[in-house]
Symmetry: C2
Subunit: 282 residues, 2 copies
């Protein structure tokens, strides 16, 4: 089951071709995207996702996304969805056709089933590896043209990192900076638990502001946890009481093995966080 709608609300067949070969989304990976979890007809964290889409667009000098139109198209996809109760909704905005004098972006939203691997990861946890991202934490300010902190369609390196994880018997990655700071996953944010406190690194070091991570933090605070957004060192990951990757589709996924080392059992913490997070949507 998939539902494809363009930003003007037109529905289209996702199995047919709709993109030209000279769309800058394909020839240059030049565009931005968001992936939103829809559960029981309700988008999770739609506001933060649209905020981030707008921020990414701004960093790429793309036109400001038409927020009411995106809100409407999200609703259109949801209204036409007839698959599982929970599904992933991807919003895509490319720079449009190369050389188009009007510079009209290509814009669409597509609803897709959550893949089985992601569902299994939510329950069973995953093995992850740390990988050098080769950057300094101040690079985002020093060199904004590198688009750190923008969620662009240029994800080839993120995908290559995940393949490197697979080669090493793992399924996900935590990127680290030159100074040993924890950055983010290729498609997730990092959260650690220490006692009754949750930690995540700050977006100011050149990573995406986490939508699911933010949602988990707010829910945890309401449930009596303390939350801190502050730099983390890679060598703190293995010694934490719990290590998690947060993303819209995988929710809070427990990392049970890091760089081949089995981590202390964080099943209980994960169960609690997953319950706290989920209870907001019941």
């Amino acid at each position: 089951m998939r539902v494809l709608a363009f930003l003007d609300g037109t529905l289209a067949d996702p199995d047919k071709a709709h993109i030209r070969i000279d769309d800058l989304g394909i020839v240059r990976g030049d565009g931005v995207f968001e992936t939103i979890l829809i559960s029981n007809g309700r988008p999770r964290e739609l506001g933060p996702h649209l905020d981030r889409l707008a921020r990414s667009a701004r960093l790429l000098d793309l036109p400001e996304p038409d927020r009411p139109a995106w809100e409407r198209v999200v609703r259109t996809v949801i209204d036409n969805w007839q698959g599982s109760d929970e599904f992933a909704l991807k919003l895509v905005m490319t720079r449009g056709i190369e050389g188009d004098p009007e510079g009209k972006p290509t814009t669409f939203a597509v609803g897709m089933e959550v893949d089985e691997k992601a569902k299994r990861a939510r329950v069973e946890g995953i093995a992850a590896i740390t990988l050098d991202r080769g950057i300094d934490c101040d690079l985002v300010d020093r060199a904004p043209w590198l688009l750190l902190g923008a969620k662009t369609l240029s994800y080839a390196l993120n995908m290559a990192a995940v393949r490197e994880a697979a080669r090493r018997g793992a399924s996900d990655v935590i990127f680290t900076a030159n100074d040993g700071s924890v950055l983010e996953g290729p498609t997730s944010n990092v959260i650690i638990a220490r006692g009754r406190t949750l930690y995540t690194p700050p977006p100011t070091i050149g990573i995406l502001k986490g939508t699911t991570q933010g949602d988990v933090f707010r829910a945890a605070e309401r449930a009596g946890w303390t939350t801190k957004v502050e730099p983390l060192r890679a060598d703190e990951l293995a010694s934490a009481d719990g290590l998690f990757l947060a993303s819209s589709v995988r929710k809070v996924t427990r990392v049970h093995t890091l760089d081949g080392i089995v981590l202390p059992d964080a099943t209980e913490i994960h169960t609690e966080l997953a319950r706290i997070y989920e209870s907001q949507y019941e």
Copy 2:
């Protein structure tokens, strides 16, 4: 005038949609490409371009490109071209449709007119700026998952760098590494002339091996120049006798202004190099 052909030799209308919204080329910038200059029905440096396509594919764990098929499709586009004597031919290979169990790449070749801006740049030269690429020169070996040295479809940052140049009144960029080494342009290689010697930085520092640069160097050697592939420092650029950006479409383009400073007049050197380069194809 444009000619589009898929790798199987089928011709198609480039103004129609041929790509699905779930092609990994668009949703992840996950694929590789080459741009080849065709002049008078003859592709320039086809062998090195196909070598580099294969190398990029290998770095991305894509299937080995079918070289005879690519050679045939290049010929198909050339045979169907009815535009200017000189045109740009882009080869694109994406990872194909997301979740496709066969993992069949999307592959096409498209011939396009060389844009007027590039033609003007060949004659008039350009202003460029140096921009921090935020990486170390040994990163390519240390972190192959970053895909440095692969020509991928994930070019959003390269395009952002060119927009930054425009904001600073220039039209192109020379990326520099953390140690002040000269890397490459977003879509070109850097060449400097000092006396009768041409210099370009080595691919081992994490940049693309230049096809046009290689061609220019071979032609220059035959004409009595010495050529050296060795690290260059950014502070050497302005003091060289000539600074050039080499790319298939723009050929050898003279940089007349760097970071706002007008460089010594290298018109004569440029004229000589352009003549040497071009004379191979006469």
